[in-house]
Subunit: 220 residues, 2 copies
């Protein structure tokens, strides 16, 4: 029996976060796919408080909340590349932006918007978040010339934000607008290309067409 | 010039969290008191994203968000007592409950409630949170006979929840009801007494009368 299991569903960006972290650390795991709209007994038992994916089950013990899981993975499998910075201050700053992204990047708000105006306002909020993150990226990556928020390699903030890139593309297609806009966030546009072409990410984030299909069936 | 400064205000439970953590680690700091309703230039400069207290300034560098600050303090001053558990799994669980408390313990919701019914519903949510935390306390502290969530000493979850105890008492007085109820959360009632009488906490959380006075002037 695999000692690492992940309860999740591929279209979930929060699940993708954990998949990317496990890939970065080269950890084999069993993927326990949840059916959309249903909740397995294992999920209810493993995350009785929130009843949400992802849940990582390691040695039969569950860990919930994607950013907490990533920190757990990073702290436990220290032999792989570091996901959080080693310096406590840099780590605090990475946690700050991770929390900020979780607070502001509400795709549900865009989806549930009552009308065109409300929807555009929700998209604007996401774009405003990206503009701030562009500033942070420039600060933390040699004036924007670095590869990732985490330096040369993908790190915590990269994963926290990058997991949404597939869904940004879906929104762009469905709403016919730009989320990651070269005129507003040029460094992040290039960062996104680098992020999505990384081996640890490629297999974790579904293709845009797949997400689009999922959205048409389940979210509209 | 002190190398550790805290921008805050005494009635803020989130500021109290940081004060408790600094006290536990016996770290001297300069308290830079913000005036209620105003925001100093230093605050705006130090936390341009959220513009909120607390902000810890260490060696001229700002760290924001109370639970992130606590982790920073714990990781940096490792010589003092540990605030987070040393085991990665226990640490993940502590982070989970810290995030849960921040998500559910909305005193602002109670304050802003439109009427009696709405207010009682908001209080019920806090009580439901406490009932879950009572369960967790029983699980993690020798069937409820331990001292703290963190074991023998005050830890991360103790601070995350304990900072609200002063305000729970204020709500109980103002609304004439019970928040921390001996019939629903008996272990937490005793835990609260232990927590509030700890030297690291005593000077950090203001007296109920002071908070009541503050509430009457500023929040009503």
């Amino acid at each position: 029996m695999a000692s690492v299991k992940l309860i999740g569903a591929s279209p979930s960006p929060f699940v993708n976060r954990v998949q990317i972290a496990l890939n970065l650390k080269s950890i084999d795991y069993e993927f326990l796919e949840e059916t959309f709209g249903a909740k397995s007994e294992l999920l209810l038992k493993s995350n009785p408080v929130h009843k949400k994916i992802p849940v990582l089950i390691h040695n039969e013990k569950p860990i919930c909340e994607s950013l907490i899981i990533i920190q757990y993975i990073d702290e436990l499998w220290m032999s792989g590349p570091s996901i959080l910075p080693s310096d406590p201050y840099d780590r605090a700053i990475a946690r700050f932006w991770g929390a900020y992204i979780d607070d502001k990047c509400s795709l549900a708000e865009i989806r549930k918007a009552g009308g065109e105006e409300e929807r555009l306002a929700a998209v604007d909020k996401v774009v405003a978040m990206l503009v701030l993150l562009e500033e942070y990226f420039i600060n933390c990556s040699s004036e924007g010339n670095g590869n990732f928020f985490g330096g040369d390699n993908i790190g915590y903030v990269d994963i926290a934000l990058g997991c949404f890139l597939g869904w940004f593309k879906v929104m762009e297609k469905m709403l016919n607008l730009k989320v990651l806009d070269i005129t507003k966030t040029p460094c992040l546009v290039k960062w996104a290309e680098r992020f999505c072409s990384d081996d640890a990410v490629k297999n974790a984030i579904p293709e845009t067409e797949q997400l689009l299909e999922f959205a048409k069936i389940h979210l509209m």
